[in-house]
């Protein structure tokens, strides 16, 4: 079954809501004609307006209301069209949802999923584009899921909805139209499991979110030149590296972390140290590719060279393998402008 990322989210909702009538879907625009970039389209018709509904612009209370619903036996999935809006609800997320299970000695648990969409490009600007994953990943009690593919969108959302713990589910806006062959299956998924999406022997890339397709693009180019890249889809922000990562690094002994968040105090730094506690990596054997630690400007001209893409990955691989590349030119013939995910995008949102 070939689905876009958006369609996969939608399908996950349908399947989850069919299999468990306690699952609810709410958020600004959840029932509107655009259905949150088509991820919630049609759900109200299928499951009724008691289970699928629009909400007031009250991010803070709504988050606490979801907590209340969850301890009252429901499984709400709340969607924010931008992560930035969820900053209004950090008290409820950190002081309530994340702590509930712990601070009542296990008496309660809080099965909520909060989807947050991360914007990029087309003038999203400083308050519509922040990937503040570190705000959430650093809070014990939360699990932070950041799907990188349409398959993840489906299986990780299903697993998140079934999780008894609060989940922050970060969707990159530029992934919504990416598509792939999908198995409508999630039963075996450990929500903290990373996934190896491409095997290789020269270098390991831990790619998060939208950096996954960019990494794959880079790896495919590198393959032509005899460089074999292993790609791990780093799709859950847990600081303990899982086995796939350790196994991969034992083989390749070289690591690039490619992240869509900013460099400063990036979670990647913790990850590197935790990896190095398990396996030796010389200081020239790993590197972190992350966004600059500045707000995202709005102007088309100012975002030029602001985002990371497959070319940055190519350059980094060359550098780490100590290869003087003369074929990089060939790959810079892109015609798509840097501030849109593809020609299909015509603005404004």
């Amino acid at each position: 079954m070939k689905l876009t990322f958006s369609q996969a989210i939608n399908q996950a909702f349908i399947d989850a809501m069919k299999s468990d009538e306690k699952v609810l879907c709410l958020g600004l625009g959840a029932t509107d004609p655009k259905g949150v970039f088509n991820t919630t389209s049609g759900l109200e018709k299928l499951f009724g307006s008691q289970r699928v509904f629009d909400i007031p612009t009250s991010e803070n209370a709504i988050t606490g209301i979801c907590v209340g619903l969850s301890i009252g036996g429901y499984k709400p999935v709340l969607t924010h069209q931008r992560l930035d809006f969820a900053l209004l609800s950090l008290d409820q997320i950190i002081n309530n949802a994340a702590k509930l299970h712990y601070m009542f000695g296990g008496a309660l648990n809080c099965p909520i999923v909060i989807r947050m969409i991360i914007g990029r490009g087309w003038g999203q600007g400083p308050t519509h584009s922040q990937n503040l994953q570190m705000l959430f990943a650093g809070i014990p009690g939360l699990k932070v899921i950041i799907p990188g593919s349409a398959q993840d969108a489906y299986s990780q959302l299903r697993a998140s909805i079934e999780s008894p713990d609060p989940i922050i589910f970060l969707e990159h806006r530029w992934l919504h139209n990416s598509f792939s062959e999908i198995k409508l299956n999630h039963s075996s998924l450990d929500i903290r499991e990373q996934s190896t999406v491409k095997e290789g022997s020269d270098i390991t890339i831990l790619a998060t979110s939208y950096m996954l397709p960019e990494s794959i693009k880079a790896a495919n180019i590198l393959e032509k030149y005899g460089i074999s890249v292993e790609i791990i889809n780093f799709r859950c922000y847990y600081f303990e590296p899982d086995e796939a990562i350790i196994k991969s690094l034992k083989k390749t002994k070289r690591l690039i972390i490619a992240d869509t968040a900013q460099d400063c105090f990036s979670i990647s730094y913790t990850l590197v140290e935790k990896i190095k506690n398990k396996i030796h990596l010389g200081s020239d054997k790993y590197s972190i590719l992350a966004m600059p630690s500045v707000p995202e400007p709005t102007s088309y001209y100012l975002t030029k060279n602001f985002y990371l893409n497959y070319q940055d990955i190519l350059n980094q691989v060359f550098k780490m393998l100590d290869i003087k590349n003369n074929f990089i030119e060939e790959t810079s013939l892109d015609t798509i402008k840097h501030d849109i995910p593809g020609e299909w995008f015509k603005g404004p949102f």
Partner: protein, 340 residues
């Protein structure tokens, strides 16, 4: 029926509705007295430095809790704040588990992880308190939505203080509850202070807060003046009836007064942040004394027995708490998630 058993039945919140005792005054008094005695015992014990967490006592404010106790069902929900002991007990929360929680023991209702500000007794629908002002208003509103979705006639009672009215989350939650006509009662104990700060430095002068709730969208809003327990009871009874019968959320302002310091076991009237005459006036309106004066002779005799009974009950609870095994520090590192 032997006295002790009768009293025990009264203490069991489920039984309170059976109207074993016909006199409302007496019933209210019993609940209030028990709460007061618990709070005073905590105050007394606190000095021994074995209760090592902040406590916010309800001495003087017991009537709102008692009004709820007499009218709520076990299957209903309630949530409260940092000053939550009275509401926990009113909902039928386990006394031993509460005292043990204050002592940081594993037998505590939150296994020592939450302390006085994090009480819970899920068995009786008491769904937790929060140490963050306003935080549990949203949770309680969500429970009201769960109640509505369940269609079993449950309601959700949200205990708050006057300070919580200043948090945007109160307004957002009430807007939501009105929009969706949720069975929620927002019961605000207006004790006129938030820590040391009087209302006048926090809210516009002479604002009628129950009118405010109405303007936000509740169909019914009530104001209960001057710490009157019978009035509180009647209003709460009516409100719960309306709430169960789909009149949507209801707001109740209950005027009251705190006798001890905001946080801690002592009287702090020496700090003079509250007017001496104001303090004296409110002491006059002690809801317990008022009702004690109204007891019949027969009831007074019962009441003496009852006081002995609760004294014992409370002593037992403290003993239980002190005797309980401390948790191992390793347990600090467990139950952060409920799944792997």
């Amino acid at each position: 029926m032997d006295e002790n058993f009768r009293i025990r039945k009264i203490l069991d919140m489920q039984e309170l509705n059976i109207q074993e005792i016909k006199n409302l005054n007496y019933k209210l008094l019993m609940v209030m007295k028990r709460i007061r005695e618990v709070e005073l015992s905590i105050s007394k014990e606190y000095k021994n430095q074995e209760i090592r967490c902040p406590v916010h006592l309800s001495v003087g404010q017991e009537a709102a809790a008692a009004a709820i106790a007499l009218n709520i069902n076990k299957t209903d929900y309630s949530v409260s704040t940092h000053r939550g002991h009275a509401h926990y007990l009113a909902k039928g929360g386990d006394l031993k588990a509460m005292i043990s929680e204050l002592y940081g023991k594993k037998t505590g209702c939150s296994k020592g992880k939450g302390g006085s500000m994090h009480l819970i007794d899920k068995e009786v629908g008491f769904m937790g308190t929060s140490a963050i002002v306003g935080n549990s208003i949203a949770t309680g509103t969500g429970l009201a939505e769960a109640a509505k979705l369940n269609s079993k006639g449950q309601i959700s009672v949200i205990h708050i203080g006057d300070g919580a009215l200043e948090e945007g989350v109160f307004y957002e939650s009430l807007n939501y509850a009105c929009l969706k006509q949720l069975p929620a009662i927002y019961l605000c104990e207006n004790n006129f202070y938030s820590v040391y700060s009087p209302l006048k430095v926090r809210q516009p002068p002479n604002r009628d807060i129950s009118a405010l709730a109405k303007a936000i969208g509740t169909k019914f809003s009530y104001k209960c003046k001057g710490n009157d327990p019978v009035n509180a009871h009647n209003i709460v009874q009516k409100a719960i009836y309306q709430c169960r019968n789909n009149y949507g959320p209801i707001f109740i302002e209950y005027e009251t007064y705190r006798w001890l310091e905001h946080c801690g076991p002592n009287n702090d009237d020496n700090l003079n942040y509250r007017d001496q005459k104001e303090i004296a006036d409110w002491r006059e309106k002690d809801p317990i004394k008022i009702l004690e004066r109204k007891l019949t002779q027969k009831e007074s005799k019962d009441y003496e027995l009852y006081k002995v009974y609760i004294k014992n009950e409370i002593a037992e609870a403290f003993q239980y708490a002190k005797d309980s095994k401390p948790p191992n520090y390793i347990e600090a590192f467990t139950e952060i998630y409920s799944s792997k």
